[in-house]
C-alpha cells in the first residue's frame, strides 16, 4: 500500500498547485466556477491526505516493516496505543499530520464560508492551498513517509523512542499541530481581505472561532507538554524545559492579543491595522513553531527529530515569503486600514484592551528574543549563548503583573467611556481583596519576594473583578427573569458565552499566575547524594532513602527496560507524610559498537518521578543512579559474550538474561550512593487547575450560541430597531 499512499500524496500535490491557480483566476469577476473548483480541490486534497494518513496508521498498527518509517519508529512489542502515536514521532509522519490537519480545517472553513465573503474566499483558498503545496511538496520530494526498505522486510523494528512513551504523545502533538494549522485559517483570510480590499468585520467574524480554536488548541498542547515535562522528563524549571515549547507560546500570546482586539474592531471599527498585523503574526509564528520542531536547530527534547538542514532552508524561505508578503500587503493597504473611530477616553474598555495588547506583544518579543538568542548569538559571535530563567524573569514577571491588573480592569469598564464614579464603585472590592491577599501572604511567611507579593495582589484583584462580574451579572439576570440564582448564573453564561467564557479564562489566568509565582519564589530545591539509610532535609521535610530497587521489564519475551530506582519516605515533624518511589529506566540500544551487555545500559534513559501532589504543595523527587561501580562487571560481561559468539542463539539469550538479572541484583545488594533531586514547591497544583479553568472558559467562548436564543435575540432587537426607525422617520 506504500505505492498507493505515495500516489495519493503526488496527486494531492498536483491538485494543490492547480487549486492555487484556479483560486486566483476564480477571484476575477465572471470566473466563479474556478473559485468553486479551487474549493473542491481543498476537499479532494483532504480526502487524499486522509487516505494516505490512514495507510500510514495501518502500517504502524500492523507492524508493516516494509515501510522505513515503521522500522525506525515502531516494533512488534510497542504497545498498540503507542503504535498509533508513533506515526507522528517521525519527521515525515509529523509533516503528514500537519498536512492532514491543515486540509481538514481548510475544508471546514471553506464549507462555512461557501456562500459568504465571495471576493475574499478565492484568495484565502489560494493561501491555504499554498500552505498545502509546501507541506505536500516536502512529503513528495524530501520526506516521504512511504519509503520502503530495499529487499525483504525486517522482522523487527527499532521501537518508539522511550522518551515518547507517555499518554501525552497521543494528544500533545495533535493539540499543538491543530493550533498551528488552525492559525493558518485567519492568516489566509486576512491575506484575502487585504488583497480584495475588504477590510471590514466580516472576515473577522468568519474566522474568529478559528483564531479562538487555535488559541485553545495551543493552550491544550502547552498544558499537556508542561505536565508531561513535569512528571516524566525531569522538570527543568520555567523557561528552561524546552525552547520548542516556548516557540509554541509565541503564537498563543499573539492569538490572545488578537481575540481581545478583534472585539474593538467589531464594536468600534478601530485597530484594523493592528488586528490584521496580529493575525498575520500569529500565522507566521505558527510556521516558526513548526519549523523549530521540525528543523532541530535549537537544543531541545524534540531533538529526537533528525537534523534537517534541507527542511530548515525551505522553512526559512516560507517564513521570509510570509513576512515580506504580509508587510507589503499591510503597507499597501494602510489607507483602507484607517480606524473609523478614535479612543474616546483612557478609562474605557477599548483603551485597556489596547494596553493589554501592548503587554502581550511585549511578552511575545521577550519570549522570542530569549528563545532565539542562541541562534542570534551564534550568528553574531559564532558561539551559542542561552538566556536562562533569571533573564526571562527580569522581564516576564513585571509584564505579567501588569497583564493581570489590566485583565481585571478591562472587563469592569464600559466601552467608549467609563465615569470615575462607576470605576471607583467597581474597583473597591477588588482593591480590598488585593490588600487582603498581601496581608495573608505576609502572615503565611511570604515577603521574601516583592515580585511574588505584587503578583498575589494583582491576581486577587483580578479574581475580585471577575467574581464581582459574575455576581452582578447573575443578580441582574435574576432581576430580569425571576430565576433562582444558580439557574440565573447558567442562563447568564449561556446567553453571553463569549463574555463570561472570557471572564472564566481571566480567573484561570489568575490561578495559574499565583501557582507560577508561588512555586518560583518559594521553591526549595536540593540535589543531595545519599547512601541507603541517609536523610536529606528540604523545605521543612525530611526525605529518607529507604532502599534501592532494581527490576527488569519485558514485553513479548524481550527485555524492554531495566529500572534502577529508590524507595523514599517523606516525614514532617517526625510523622510520615508519604512514601515515594522514583526510578530511572535504561532502554537497550542497537548500537553494534557497544558490547553485548553494555547495550542494555547505554541506550535511551527516562526518569520516573516520585511525586506527592497536593493543593498546598508538591513534593517532587527524581533519582539518578550511579552505574559507574557496575562498569567493571558490565565490561566483563561484554568480553565473555563477545568471546562466546558460537553459542546457540536461544542459549546465548538465556545466559545474557541471567547476566543482566545478576547485574541488577548486584545493584540492589550493594547500592552505590545515588544522586537525587528533591523539590518542594507550593501551589503547583494551582497551575494545572488554573490551566483547566482557562481551557474550560475558552471552550465556553468558542461554543456556538444556541440557535433558538440567537433567533430570539435577533427578533427582539430587530423589533426595537424597527420601532426606533419608525419613530425617527415620523
Amino acid at each position: 500500500m506504500a505505492v498507493v499512499g505515495r500516489a495519493c500524496l503526488i496527486i494531492a500535490f498536483v491538485v494543490s498547485i492547480y487549486g492555487v491557480g484556479a483560486a486566483i483566476h476564480g477571484a476575477r469577476p465572471g470566473n466563479r466556477r474556478f473559485a468553486e473548483s479551487a474549493r473542491r480541490s481543498v476537499y479532494a486534497i483532504a480526502g487524499l491526505v486522509t487516505f494516505s494518513f490512514a495507510i500510514l496508521e495501518g502500517a504502524f498498527l500492523t507492524s508493516n516493516f516494509s515501510f522505513v518509517t515503521v522500522v525506525t519508529h515502531s516494533s512488534t512489542t510497542t504497545p498498540f496505543f503507542y503504535k498509533a502515536a508513533a506515526a507522528w514521532s517521525s519527521q515525515e509522519g509529523s509533516l503528514l499530520l500537519w498536512a492532514f490537519l491543515l486540509s481538514v480545517w481548510s475544508s471546514v472553513v471553506l464549507t462555512i464560508t461557501r456562500n459568504r465573503l465571495r471576493d475574499v474566499t478565492p484568495y484565502a483558498t489560494a493561501v491555504l492551498l499554498g500552505f498545502a503545496t509546501f507541506f505536500l511538496g516536502l512529503l513528495v520530494f524530501t520526506n516521504s513517509p512511504f519509503d520502503t526498505v530495499a529487499g525483504p522486510a525486517p522482522v523487527e523494528g527499532s521501537g518508539l523512542n522511550p522518551l515518547l512513551r507517555h499518554p501525552s504523545m497521543m494528544t500533545h502533538p495533535i493539540a499543538l499541530y491543530s493550533g498551528y494549522t488552525l492559525a493558518a485559517v485567519p492568516f489566509a483570510f486576512a491575506i484575502g481581505a487585504l488583497i480584495a480590499r475588504r477590510i471590514d468585520a466580516e472576515w473577522i467574524a468568519a474566522t474568529r472561532r478559528f483564531a479562538l480554536g487555535s488559541w485553545l488548541a495551543l493552550g491544550i498542547g502547552l498544558l499537556l507538554g508542561a505536565r508531561w515535562s513535569y512528571v516524566e522528563l525531569g522538570w527543568g524549571g520555567y523557561w528552561a524545559w524546552d525552547p520548542v515549547e516556548n516557540a509554541a507560546l509565541l503564537p498563543w500570546l499573539t492569538a490572545t492579543a488578537l481575540i481581545h482586539s478583534i472585539q474593538i474592531q467589531e464594536k468600534r471599527g478601530m485597530l484594523k491595522i493592528w488586528n490584521v498585523s496580529l493575525t498575520l503574526a500569529t500565522g507566521t509564528l505558527a510556521i516558526v513553531g513548526t519549523f523549530l520542531v521540525r528543523s532541530g536547530i535549537l537544543d531541545s527534547i524534540h531533538a529526537f527529530v533528525e537534523q534537517g538542514n534541507e527542511i530548515a532552508w525551505l522553512f526559512t524561505g516560507l517564513i521570509c515569503v510570509m513576512c515580506a508578503g504580509s508587510i507589503a500587503l499591510v503597507v499597501s493597504r494602510r489607507a483602507l486600514l484607517a480606524s473609523e473611530n478614535r479612543i474616546e477616553a483612557l478609562l474605557s474598555r477599548e483603551a485597556v484592551f489596547l494596553m493589554n495588547n501592548l503587554v502581550l506583544v511585549a511578552l511575545t518579543f521577550v519570549v522570542f528574543w530569549g528563545t532565539f538568542f542562541p541562534l542570534i548569538s551564534e550568528a553574531l559571535t559564532g558561539e551559542k549563548h542561552a538566556l536562562g530563567p533569571p533573564w526571562f524573569g527580569k522581564y516576564i514577571v513585571p509584564l505579567t503583573i501588569i497583564l493581570a491588573v489590566l485583565s481585571g480592569i478591562g472587563p469592569v469598564l464600559s466601552w467608549r467611556r467609563a465615569t470615575g464614579l462607576n470605576a471607583r464603585r467597581n474597583f473597591a472590592i477588588p482593591i480590598l481583596l488585593a490588600g487582603a491577599a498581601v496581608v495573608v501572604s505576609l502572615a503565611l511567611g511570604g515577603g521574601r519576594s516583592l515580585g511574588a507579593e505584587l503578583m498575589f495582589a494583582a491576581c486577587a484583584f483580578l479574581l475580585g473583578c471577575v467574581g464581582q462580574e459574575f455576581w452582578r451579572g447573575t443578580r441582574a439576570r435574576r432581576a430580569m427573569s425571576g430565576e433562582a440564582l444558580p439557574v440565573a448564573l447558567v442562563s447568564l453564561v449561556r446567553r453571553n458565552r463569549r463574555r463570561y467564557g472570557g471572564y472564566l479564562v481571566h480567573a484561570g489566568v489568575a490561578l495559574l499566575f499565583v501557582g507560577i509565582a508561588a512555586s518560583s519564589a518559594f521553591q526549595h530545591v536540593i540535589t543531595p547524594t545519599l547512601q541507603v539509610g541517609q536523610t536529606a532535609h528540604v523545605g521543612g521535610y525530611a526525605i529518607h532513602y529507604d532502599r534501592p530497587t532494581g527490576t527488569i521489564t519485558t514485553k513479548g519475551g524481550r527485555l524492554e527496560r531495566i529500572n534502577l530506582g529508590s524507595d523514599l519516605t517523606v516525614r514532617q515533624g517526625g510523622k510520615v507524610v508519604t512514601r515515594l518511589h522514583t526510578e530511572r529506566g535504561y532502554y537497550p540500544t542497537d548500537d553494534s559498537s557497544l558490547g553485548v551487555v553494555s547495550r542494555y545500559f547505554e541506550g535511551e534513559q527516562t526518569s520516573e518521578v516520585g511525586l506527592k501532589a497536593g493543593a498546598r504543595r508538591d513534593i517532587w523527587t527524581v533519582v539518578s543512579p550511579d552505574t559507574d561501580p557496575l562498569r567493571p562487571i558490565i565490561s566483563q560481561g561484554d568480553k565473555v559474550f563477545g568471546d562466546a559468539k558460537n553459542l546457540p542463539p536461544s542459549m546465548g539469550a538465556a545466559l545474557l538474561g541471567q547476566a543482566i538479572r545478576g547485574i541488577v541484583n548486584r545493584y540492589e545488594r550493594n547500592p552505590p550512593p545515588a544522586q537525587f533531586r528533591f523539590i518542594v514547591s507550593p501551589l503547583v497544583s494551582w497551575i494545572w487547575f488554573g490551566a483547566l479553568v482557562i481551557l474550560f472558559g475558552g471552550a465556553i467562548s468558542i461554543w456556538p450560541p444556541p440557535g433558538g436564543a440567537t433567533r430570539r435575540v435577533r427578533a427582539r432587537y430587530l423589533a426595537r430597531v424597527g420601532r426606533e426607525s419608525a419613530a425617527t422617520t415620523s
Binding site: A7, F34, L48, L117, K267, R425
Partner: protein
C-alpha cells in the same frame, strides 16, 4: 489492486475538482459582497446593543450614559438596516 486504487482515486479527484467547470457560469449579484458586509455589521451592532444593556445592568454604565449610548447604537443599527433595504 494498487494500480486500480490509484486510478480510482485519480478519477474521483478529477470528477470532484472539475465539477464546477462542467457547469455554466452563474451570474452573481454585484451587491452580494456589500450585503454580506452589512449583515456582519448588523450582527456586530446588535451585539453591541446587547452588551451595552448588560453593562448598564451590571453597574458599569450610569442610566444616563446607557440611554445615550443605546440611542446612538440603535440609530447606527437603523442606518445599517436602511442600507440593507436599499440593496433589495
Amino acid at each position: 489492486m494498487e494500480v486500480i486504487l490509484i486510478i480510482l482515486a485519480l478519477a474521483v479527484v478529477v470528477w470532484v475538482v472539475s465539477g464546477p467547470l462542467r457547469r455554466a457560469e452563474r451570474p452573481e449579484a454585484a451587491s452580494a459582497a456589500r450585503r454580506a458586509g452589512l449583515q456582519a455589521a448588523k450582527e456586530a451592532k446588535y451585539r453591541e446593543i446587547r452588551d451595552a444593556e448588560l453593562d448598564w445592568r451590571t453597574g458599569k454604565l450610569s442610566e444616563r450614559d446607557y440611554r445615550e449610548q443605546d440611542r446612538r447604537l440603535r440609530a447606527e443599527a437603523v442606518e445599517i438596516l436602511r442600507e440593507l433595504d436599499e440593496l433589495d
